[in-house]
Amino acid sequence: MNPELASPSSSSDRRISVLARHLAGVEMDSKNDSISAFPTSGSDNNSVFSHVVRGPEDPILGVTVAYNKDPSPVKLNLGVGAYRTEEGKPLVLNVVRKAELLLVNDRSRVKEYLPITGLAEFNKLSAKLMFGANCPAIQENRVTTVQCLSGTGSLRVGAEFLAKHYLQRTIYIPQPTWGNHPKIFTLAGLSVKTYRYYDPATRGLNFQGLVEDLSSASSGAIVLLHACAHNPTGVDPTFQQWEQIRKLMRSKGLMPFFDSAYQGFASGNLDADAQPIRMFVADGGELLLAQSYAKNMGLYGERIGALSIVCKTADVAARVESQLKLVIRPMYSNPPIHGASIVAAILKNRDLYNEWTIELKAMADRIISMRQKLFEALRARGTPGDWSHIVKQIGMFTFTGLNSKQVSFMTKEYHIYMTSDGRISMAGLSSKTVPHLADAIHAAVKQVV
């Protein structure tokens, strides 16, 4: 904008030059200058935000904040579900580094906006990974897959879509579940109810309670299901139980909404961990799926995931996809490219894919070995109680059964950082640190009730 306009001949020129002078920072004469200094800068009394209170720290992420503040050399962060190596370090998979190198060196790559639904290649590959390459639903174009911001983003977009277009606005979530679930669904406009899931007495699945609660759910209601490696309990239904759940849900027209954040992490095998979902797809019914690559590809900060909706017909799937775009566009327009490109590069290349499965299995195996070590350490100490759930539970987390008082004790006396519900991230343990944790648990169980 050129502030030095020739003497304005039209009134619009004059107005534009007023603005231009304003833009150039020229002091305006008092007639035009209606800027008044805000009454009291520096004081909160006249702030329009004075009624905004400080938000509480997020309980899960807050654990890391507290951990970072602790100067103790023996401190242990067992809060966030992020994988750590035996040396306690974050891990970027070799295969991810390889993929990134390929991407950065590819001169033909650009950073143009992705479509609203994200990177098409990524979407197709993600669907195949979960549903199976020969899945009839995919071949019949009955699946719409849209790239979203990891698991959270996929859940949020799916929930907003359901709140707008699905005839039932109630979602049933398991008790307990990931702390962010109820917030996501509530803010999306759904009403949240719970179904019984964890049995503290057995530290296993309360299958009877689950069946009763889903049986009495309103017909057509949405039901959140953890695909595998339930967070926070690590308790998963058996295949037989999954089959019963499927039958029950289909008979009541309940809409399954799967949250899959640990495919490949639970058993170490990608296909095995996808089985529950594939069972539901195989019966020809509809479902929603939120997929995340945060853990199984170690792409936490890249925020890469996908929402898939399996529909009855290709026509419905196309219409559903068009409506998903209307949810996404006003939220962030289109998703970020980097993580999607990495995932696509790995999934589509046979060698990289194989390398990935090996690295994934190694991560899963390390966690399983930590379970074994912790269990043995507690047994060696004669810690009171049955600790077999540590080796029975699946995935990244163990629901120890410790109460919040015991957890506080462990934090204070042993510098163990974990969520107050007694959940520990096994990924944060190493052979070296297991003894310290075992001592802490032992002390907590004996000294705190």
Binding site: S10, S12, V18, D44, G55, R156, M255, H338, G339
Partner: protein, 434 residues
């Protein structure tokens, strides 16, 4: 009442086809299909008990969903791609193109990415508010490092998903803490603004901005509409602006082109800085899509300038609470690129040079287009608005019919409101566009 008791699955589907025409269009009216009662999707009553399972299994739960219209801006990218005419021109999406009409990845960006790869940085979750290093440099870039609001820590800065995502965070903040407060949006504005506030459930209304007669600013209309708005409204402003502090309105800047409008980062931030220096509270959404060419990385920020350090801290904590159930934490890659470019003096200077080059190319295109049109058009029409308008776009003053004609006859793709992206125009193609 349709008797479905003896319907076979295929007959059921054909019943469905017939009913489709009568089904009320709109969201989720599957109830019309099944049952008079809303929220009872499967026919379970009376004699249809045996059929209920078949119905539930064979008909989609999403059957009542209609096809949404294509996005007015992104939607026609597909049409453009499908067009085989060699003369085709894409002037729709606001993405910079070189003179050869190719997408452009800035050299500084490539350098930053290589640095990042060499350093072997990890991919851990960012915190909910994003990358701290990014938040610091982005606020300083916007306000100037020596601005009192920065020195007094009165700005709540949270990394957002480019401009859209940052606006959405702000919209959610407004909805939660200023219930009922209105956002005033310029007419016309970027089409997605309305969608953002609608989805965030924030009421909005328009203020006059563009004067079709002059193809310029309707200053008096703007002032009068802003004055008429309810007390304490949020006024969404583009880069240059009149100050709307009558009636305690809160300025809300959408800065998507800092550095791109004039070629100077400081000049393009002058309105924001002026308002901040005067002690006003304001909101500013930032985007690095255009000025750093990071479109697909989705990197931006929402800045809330508050009158006290404590208020800023509280506002920031609440912005984090909004991000958490939306996407937990923002993506790291774009944030690191910006932090590296803006935070390193050498890269920062290189960036300024590249940005001047991009802005310069657009200015040249404006000049050439103006020259062409003035020469060709014998009607005496004043085309000088092309030179006066700022930034990547030009409002041509063409109406919908004319815009459609541009596309259909001339293979020039633009939005129906007559907006063209000059960044998608080359000097070589100016003649054709004329």
């Amino acid at each position: 009442m349709i008797s479905l008791a003896s319907a076979t699955p295929s007959a059921l589907l054909s019943v469905q086809e017939t009913l489709k025409g009568k089904t009320r269009l709109g969201s989720g009216c599957v109830s019309t299909l099944f049952n008079k009662e809303k929220g009872k999707p499967s026919i379970k009553k009376k004699s249809c008990g045996r059929i209920s399972m078949t119905v539930a299994v064979n008909v989609s739960r999403f059957e009542g969903i209609v096809m949404a219209p294509p996005d007015p801006i992104h939607g026609f990218s597909e049409a453009f791609r499908a067009d085989v005419d060699v003369k085709k021109l894409s002037l729709g999406v606001g993405a910079y193109r070189t003179e050869e009409l190719q997408p452009y990845v800035l050299d500084v960006v490539k350098k930053a990415e290589n640095l990042m790869l060499e350093r072997g940085e990890n991919k851990e979750y960012l915190s909910m508010e994003g990358l701290a290093a990014f938040n610091k440099v982005t606020a300083e870039l916007l306000f100037g490092a020596d601005n009192p609001v920065i020195e007094q820590q009165r700005v709540a800065t949270v990394q957002g998903l480019s401009g859209t995502g940052s606006l959405r965070l702000a919209a959610a903040l407004i909805e939660r803490y200023f219930p009922g407060a209105k956002v005033l949006i310029s007419s016309p504005t970027w089409g997605n603004h309305m969608n953002i506030f609608n989805d965030a459930r924030v009421p909005w209304s328009e203020y006059r901005y563009y004067d079709p007669k002059t193809v310029g600013l309707d200053f008096e209309g703007m002032i009068s509409d802003i004055k008429a708005a309810p007390e304490g409204s949020f006024v969404l402003l583009h880069g240059c602006a009149h100050n709307p502090t009558e009636k305690n309105h809160i300025p809300f800047f959408d800065v998507a082109y800092q550095g791109f409008a004039s070629g100077s980062l400081d000049a393009d931030a002058s309105s924001v800085r002026l308002f901040a220096e005067r002690g006003m509270e304001l909101l500013v959404a930032q985007s690095y899509s255009k000025n750093l060419g990071l479109y697909a990385e989705r990197i931006g920020a929402i800045n809330v300038v508050c009158s006290s350090t404590d208020a800023a801290a509280r506002v920031k904590s609440q912005l984090k609470r909004i991000a958490r159930p939306m996407y937990s934490s923002p993506p790291v890659h774009g944030a690191r690129i910006v932090a590296n470019v803006v935070g390193d003096p050498a890269l920062f200077n290189e960036w300024k040079v590249e940005m001047e080059m991009m802005a310069g190319r657009i200015k040249n295109v404006r000049q050439k287009l103006f020259d062409c049109l003035s020469a060709k058009d014998k009607s005496g029409k004043d085309w000088s608005f092309i030179l006066k308008q700022i930034g990547m776009f030009s409002f041509t003053g063409l109406n919908k019919t004319q815009s459609d004609n541009m596309t259909n006859k001339w293979h020039v793709y633009m939005t129906k409101d007559g907006r063209i992206s000059l960044a998608g125009l080359s000097l070589a193609k100016c003649e054709y566009l004329c």
